[in-house]
Every structure is written in structure tokens, then in C-alpha cells.
Symmetry: C2
Subunit: 336 residues, 2 copies
């Protein structure tokens, strides 16, 4: 039999109703054991790929973990995957990675593909589209069918599963507090638009640090960038209005600020201290090297894998949310 | 039946010899059709995972492509994967990624896992260990069993399959030629040790460009770095001996040279022109922005996916090696 097998094929071939096939595949006690076995063997034989998880997962440990991430050209996700690999390999698990490329449909397709018997559990970071739609049916379906799922970084509170996050607000708060400590009086913020959750949280951290230190919030010092292509032209006016400190919610924005400062002859850190977020290659090779908030991606990956493997092997029903601490890495873009 | 099923389990359960099971799984005509069907249905039912490719691949198109790369925190591989995704998705294929993490064993394990019915073909870049061992049995086995394979970047001539490479030597030649064109007389090379094939090829390109322009090769101007941790201390003496041009075989080495020049008060590009290799984030955000050789990773990925899908769908026996051209991206780290 060529091509993809459907419920209809099985129903016709074995001369039972589609509903029977569906229930038999789900191992429903409504169906006789004989029919169940027949349907299941046929489905296996012809590699039937249902829209839900293959049966009797508990007996069919694959020792594979499926990871779905929204993008790959991104240092943070790459380090998370390294952490997952390390922890998984140490426990005898392989890791299979799929990209959702920020597409809801790709997330659904990849989940269906992997859930069909290839893996024992998922580690996933949601696409922006999924967060915007708030459509989590594919995740809930997988959970309901007994497959463990751990969400990291881009999570949704509504989904009943284990989660690993970082404290974005606290990370931003610490960064801005550091700028204040080294003597900055006029601190600019370079952030994303508010619908990006990490940008929103890091903006809150900035505001809280100012308020705690009795510094008046000046909206003119807050730049929210939607399109990265226009980052330079949006950041330039901020540097022109005499800021002595800048906190950027990602590496690229911080690097753009540093490069603009070089062009304008503003000395870093003596005239301007800069702090970024995400401790990637850009921060390390910046000139001067960038003080930044590390998200500890490696640790996030390790924690996610550890939680998932525990669920796979122990099948507990208690869900946890683990908060991985951020860490301020002090380099040369801030005054002593 | 819990745990991983072996040939032994099947043999015992169905009361036939292991050799019969093995042959039946390979659909050998030596075995009666009845026994073949019985063994195959049993194997499917209990998710038997053989060390070779599952049967009747031609009837079981999964529409999945497996990609195995040596590392993920690497801009080049990330862009190759983007290219693969784009081309594969356009043709209705999903992409499954595994990391070999520069380990021969992980490469073998991942290939075995994916080859077992999860995918229709492989796109792979070899680990350094595989290249050093020259052990390609796992690749040859997959090819012999009719599964298409495309190698990219880190290839081996001995493996009969389609390949996608860039012309490393030509890319380096063009870069050094550019330095000579803008007036550099004393050009340093920052390379890797010779057993890294790309470093060796790019070194050859450097030498050829000097020779073609009648510039004497000075071994004192050639630095070969084995351990990245010592890059700074190895590059510093090169800058101290009065070079006016530097070609580095990767981004990180080029950035290290730029940062050392800043520290030493050497002006770029007026006193020193610098060219790197790989057009990643570091090059774009460098100050001054780095002139570099782009490897066109996206195009490599697209070509690899195109070649693989062609083989999956048309099963030709003719193998090609596609050379993707490098491109010199001129920015501000070189004189006009």
C-alpha cells in the first residue's frame, strides 16, 4: 500500500467502521481485544500516522526527546539546546530538534510528526504566533494523551505542564541598578514593542529600578523598536540627548548603541555606560567588551531536560515552574 | 513487552531463528511470505528498531528529511539549516535536526535512529572525529540500503553521494587579493592548524594570492592557532611586527585582531586592513564593520535540500558535487 494511510483505508481493509478504528487505535475497552489487536497491527504494519500520539506509549520508550524551537540563528536557543543535549545524553536519551520558524502551523505539524511514536516527551518554546493566537490545542492534546511536555522561555500560563523561565524583570532591574551604582544619572532604555513578552518584562525591570532609586522616569529616554532595520535611526537621538547610561534589552541593540557612540565620538565607558541582555558572541567580542545580563541558556536546557526525563520515567502529575536566575556579567562597557 | 526489542526477542516469541528474523525483516525471498509478514508485523507492533534501515522504504515515504550537524552555536550551520528548511518546506518536506556535537559515536547513533523509518534522506556535515578516523561505514551502509544522502561543507571524497561545498581556497584567494589591491604590502595570515580542512584550504588560498602577486611568503607572518583560548596571545606579536593587512580564516580570529589593534592604537583601516571569513553577526556589528568572505550558508542549505529531494523522488544513480561560490562582502575594515 503506497502513500499515507488514513483511518478510511484501515476501516475499508479490515471491514470495520472508522469509529471502531479510531477507538481501537486508542485502545478503548469498548472494542474487543481481537479487533483492537488487528487494527493496531495493521496500522503499525502500514505505518499509519494518526493526528494524535501513537498507542501504548508507556510500553514503547524510544529514549528520544523532541525539541521544538522558534528559531535557530539565535545564540540563546543554541545554548539551551547544548544544555538539553548534555543532560539528555548523560541519561541515555537522544535529542531530535525541529524548527517552528515562528509559525504556528509549523509548530503543530512538527508536534504531530514527532508525537507519533518518535519521542518520549517534548521540550518546547512557543512561537510568537502561538502566543498571539493563544491557541494551545496541540499542546493540550499531547499532554492529555500522556506525553510529558516542558515549556521554556516562551511559555503560556494556561498550559498545564512543567516550565522553565528566567526572571526577565529581575535581570533588567539588576542591570539598571548597576548603571545607577556606577553613577549614571540619565539612563536610556532601548527595548522592543510591548507585545513581545520579554521586552515588556525587561522594560518593567528598568522602570522599577528607576523608581526604587528615586529617579524620575523620562519617556523621552525610552525607545521601543519594532523593526530591527530601523534600530540605528531610532537609537541615535537617544545618544544625542546626553544620556550617560543605556540599558538595551538585547545584544544587537546594545551593539548598535556602542557603534553609534563610536561614530559620535562618545567615549565608553567614561561618558556612556552600556549594558545589554543575552551573553552571546557579540557581547564577548564587542569593543569595549559588553557588560550584559546572561540568561544562562545552558542551565535552562539542563533544567528542562532534567524535568522532562523525570516526568518520562516517573509519571508524576505535579507540575513545577523553575525560575533560572539571570546573572550580570560585568565587562568593560560600564564604569567601575 | 517493555524496553527495547531485539532480534532475539522476536526470534524467541515467534519461534524462528535469528537469521530468519533478520532475513524476514530485510524482506528476503529466501523466507516464506507468511513468515516475512508475521515477523514484520510483530516487529512493527513492538516498534523493533534495527541497526539498519527499515524495510520497503520506497513504499513508506515519510516526507521528512534528517539533518545532522556537528555543532549548533555556529552561525554558518544555522544559516545552512534555514536554507534547508526553506527549500524542504516549499516541497512539502519537514526537517528533523540532530547534533553530532563533533562526536563520531553521536553521528552513528543519530543516523541509526533517524534511518529507522523516520526520514526519507539525510543531509549531513561530518564531525572532525569522523574525518580524522576516516570511518564512513555508517554512511556507506545507509547509501547501500537505498537511502539518499547529501554531504555538505565537511565532506569525504570516498563517500559515493551528492555533495555541496564552497570553494574555500578561492574565497581566501579573493580576500588576500583584495588586501593587495588596496595597497597592503605586508599581509599576515591567522589560520587554524592544518588538519582542519577549511583552515588548510584557506591557507592555500592565501599563499596562492601572494605568489600570484609576486609577494614573498614570510613564515613569520603566518599564525596557526590550535586552541582558541590562546588566540589573543598568538595574534598580538603579528600586529607588533608591522603588518598592514590581516586575513583571518574565521570571524572570531578577525575580531580578536581588530580588538587587539584598538588596544594597541593601530587605526583600522588606515594603518591596518582586516578581512575575515563567514559573514555572521560578529562581522556585521564589528567596529569598524568587518570585510569578510561570505560562505552563502543559506544557498548551501537550499542546494543540499534540492539535491536530496531530487534523489528521493527520482532515484538517480548519478552523483554530483555542487560548488557554491563564496562572495567578498566589502565593509569598513579595509581601505578603499
Amino acid at each position: 500500500m503506497k502513500g499515507k494511510i488514513t483511518l478510511k483505508h484501515i476501516s475499508k481493509e479490515l471491514d470495520v467502521s472508522i469509529s471502531t478504528v479510531s477507538k481501537a487505535l486508542k485502545d478503548s475497552p469498548e472494542i474487543s481485544q481481537e479487533t483492537r489487536e488487528k487494527v493496531q497491527a495493521f496500522a503499525k504494519l502500514y505505518n499509519y500516522r494518526p493526528n494524535n500520539i501513537a498507542l501504548s506509549l508507556k510500553n514503547r520508550k524510544t529514549k528520544n526527546i523532541g525539541v521544538i524551537i522558534p528559531e535557530i540563528v539565535h545564540h540563546f536557543f543554541a545554548t539551551v539546546i547544548e544544555g538539553i543535549e548534555q543532560e539528555a545524553n548523560a541519561s541515555g536519551y537522544n535529542v531530535i530538534i525541529c524548527l517552528s520558524s515562528e509559525s504556528f502551523d509549523k509548530e503543530v505539524i512538527n508536534m504531530e510528526m514527532l508525537a507519533n511514536g518518535s519521542i518520549d516527551g517534548f521540550i518546547l518554546s512557543l512561537t510568537k504566533e502561538t502566543q498571539m493566537k493563544k491557541d494551545y490545542h496541540h499542546l493540550v492534546e499531547v499532554i492529555n494523551q500522556g506525553m510529558p511536555l516542558v515549556l521554556f522561555d516562551r511559555i503560556a500560563d494556561e498550559i498545564p505542564c512543567d516550565k522553565v523561565v528566567i526572571d526577565d524583570e529581575k535581570g533588567a532591574f539588576d542591570a539598571v541598578n548597576k548603571l545607577i551604582e556606577v553613577g549614571c544619572k540619565k539612563i536610556g532604555l532601548i527595548s522592543t514593542v510591548d507585545y513581545v513578552s520579554v521586552g515588556r518584562l525587561r522594560t518593567q525591570g528598568y522602570l522599577k529600578a528607576l523608581i526604587k532609586n528615586n529617579i524620575e522616569v523620562d519617556q523621552n529616554l525610552i525607545v521601543k523598536i519594532e523593526d530591527v532595520a530601523h534600530a540605528s535611526e531610532m537609537i541615535a537621538p537617544l545618544l544625542d540627548c546626553g544620556v550617560d547610561g543605556v540599558f538595551a534589552v538585547n545584544e544587537a541593540f546594545a551593539m548598535t548603541a556602542i557603534n553609534l557612540a563610536h561614530e559620535k565620538g562618545i567615549k565608553i565607558p567614561s561618558q556612556l555606560s552600556v549594558i545589554g541582555f543575552t551573553d552571546g558572541e557579540l557581547s564577548k567580542y564587542a569593543s569595549p567588551a559588553l557588560t550584559t545580563v546572561s540568561q544562562n541558556g545552558h542551565q535552562i536546557g539542563q533544567e528542562a531536560a532534567r524535568m522532562l526525563i523525570e516526568k518520562i520515567e516517573e509519571e508524576s502529575e505535579v507540575f513545577q515552574t523553575k525560575v533560572v536566575k539571570t546573572k550580570l556579567i560585568v565587562r568593560k562597557s560600564t564604569k567601575n
